[in-house]
Point group: C2
Chain length 328, copies 2
Amino acid sequence: MTPRTLPGFYASALVLALSAGAVQSDTLADYMDFFEPLPHLPPIPADNTMTPEKIELGKMLFFEPRISASGVISCATCHNPALGWSDRIPRAVGHGGQVGERNTPTVLNSGFLESQFWDGREPDLEGQALGPIQADIEMNMTLAEAIERLKAFEIYRQHFAEAFPDDPDPINPGNVALAIATFERTLNTPNSPLDRFLRGDVQAMTGRQVEGMKLFVDAGCVACHGGPALTDSNFHRFELPGSRDEGRFLVTGDEADRFAFRTPTLRNVAVTYPYFNNGSVDNLHDAVQLMGQQMLGQDFTEEELDSLVDFMHALTGEMPRVEIPALP
Amino acid sequence: MTPRTLPGFYASALVLALSAGAVQSDTLADYMDFFEPLPHLPPIPADNTMTPEKIELGKMLFFEPRISASGVISCATCHNPALGWSDRIPRAVGHGGQVGERNTPTVLNSGFLESQFWDGREPDLEGQALGPIQADIEMNMTLAEAIERLKAFEIYRQHFAEAFPDDPDPINPGNVALAIATFERTLNTPNSPLDRFLRGDVQAMTGRQVEGMKLFVDAGCVACHGGPALTDSNFHRFELPGSRDEGRFLVTGDEADRFAFRTPTLRNVAVTYPYFNNGSVDNLHDAVQLMGQQMLGQDFTEEELDSLVDFMHALTGEMPRVEIPALP
């Protein structure tokens, strides 16, 4: 059994161990040590260096609906900048109004995740980018036709040449993925109340948010929701009412992965409702309660839920300011 | 026969008269007199004063997909800021992927038009705004449910109260229309090369654009494409290959209106392709050629077409800078 397929009862054991440790951490500083401020940029892969030209091209492609079969769906349709770079509906609506199986994850801070999609089937943003373009219930496009459409525009020929100056034939699917991934790595939300608090601004969080932060550690939430993006990027099983989605199992075929999903980031969780793989829970109170019951075997009191939810609101960072590109 | 239903042969007669007049206008200043720079704002109706609060609310509503049945289509889906506030596909794609009958007109400078929609069935932007929300092939929403959804958000309750401070129950369809129309009246594109040229910057247009401008007058295009938005806001018949759309006739039932459509603005025509009521012509060369043949009974030479098309490019103004709103 690898750490990436940690089932519920093992997770609970780990959580108990961590909780026990946390009980001894009675100074605020000890609690704060469980967290780290969000860096302004995630790790940049060596084989996809970040350049202004790639960011600009990636932004254009992210907003480009002509790489969908209908000509009206872009990445930004479901990852809508007005809606926390997600869509705020339970399950994604794509080509021809088809409704998918899963809730749209936010693109915000996605460069900090160690795998992509709810089931982690792609290791990175480069691997993720071309999926929705081709999925028949999303953009329903062949890559060949997408490339053909892009090649028809002089402005794209120019931008691809600038972004990939060493490539003699730069308009190709691989470069589309590299550019979109590069743009997405700029979509981070630093300076949330938690980040400012961790950096020493004691006024940045309310008293109840600080209480929530402590409880988040003491109860064991931080066992899975740790690291800069508040996710371990690992897969955990739980029973979500109304969901028959087998999750990670569909990728690995490993029985231990049945109904397991990658821990979602809690960064900006207050503005990226509804929650869970099928988007069936539309408020933080119920989401935190369900997590307590399922992952920690614990029924939080209403007071505890209130402080945990308040702490969730301290995880909303500064939204990236993105100017809508002028497309050809 | 009223001027609003001017049929082709009458228009041709008027055009000939204007052309004859233009022949005598041999100085550049005389040609320039046919045009006027685009004001920064269109006329503001007395019963819908422009306030910052209404603009802000209208912007939120314009980008708000929850006022569509699917939850993913907003005004900005078809009137996409990245695509000249239109969609750059022949005919609009709406709810469930349904394709409409007509090409999406740009919202840019739409406050300068004296009627709205291709068939002019609404007199103003206030009248236009609620149409697409309810159309079953567009956003497919009842106004009652749209209002209910908006009322659920505290932020909307706040913004409506600020925008309509004298209204005890401000979240209602009428106010939605007032706010969206107010926002749309800010979406203007001043300072195009033509505007700067008219204001005295002789370098703002190329030599061939100036030739195109003269020909635009001499050939009679300006007869219908005059005024600040380069449209007379009147209805004219013409035979568009592939279109059986009866246009204005569907509104008035007047035989003279069969196949008549409102003259579209030529402002930003280079970035609002494809053209005509069914979007069947995707380039300016062919669009100008067709107009010459149909409306002016004239086959422009390739050289004439080149200069007219170049002049069309001088009609692209400064795009409004709109920050994507943060929706609740």
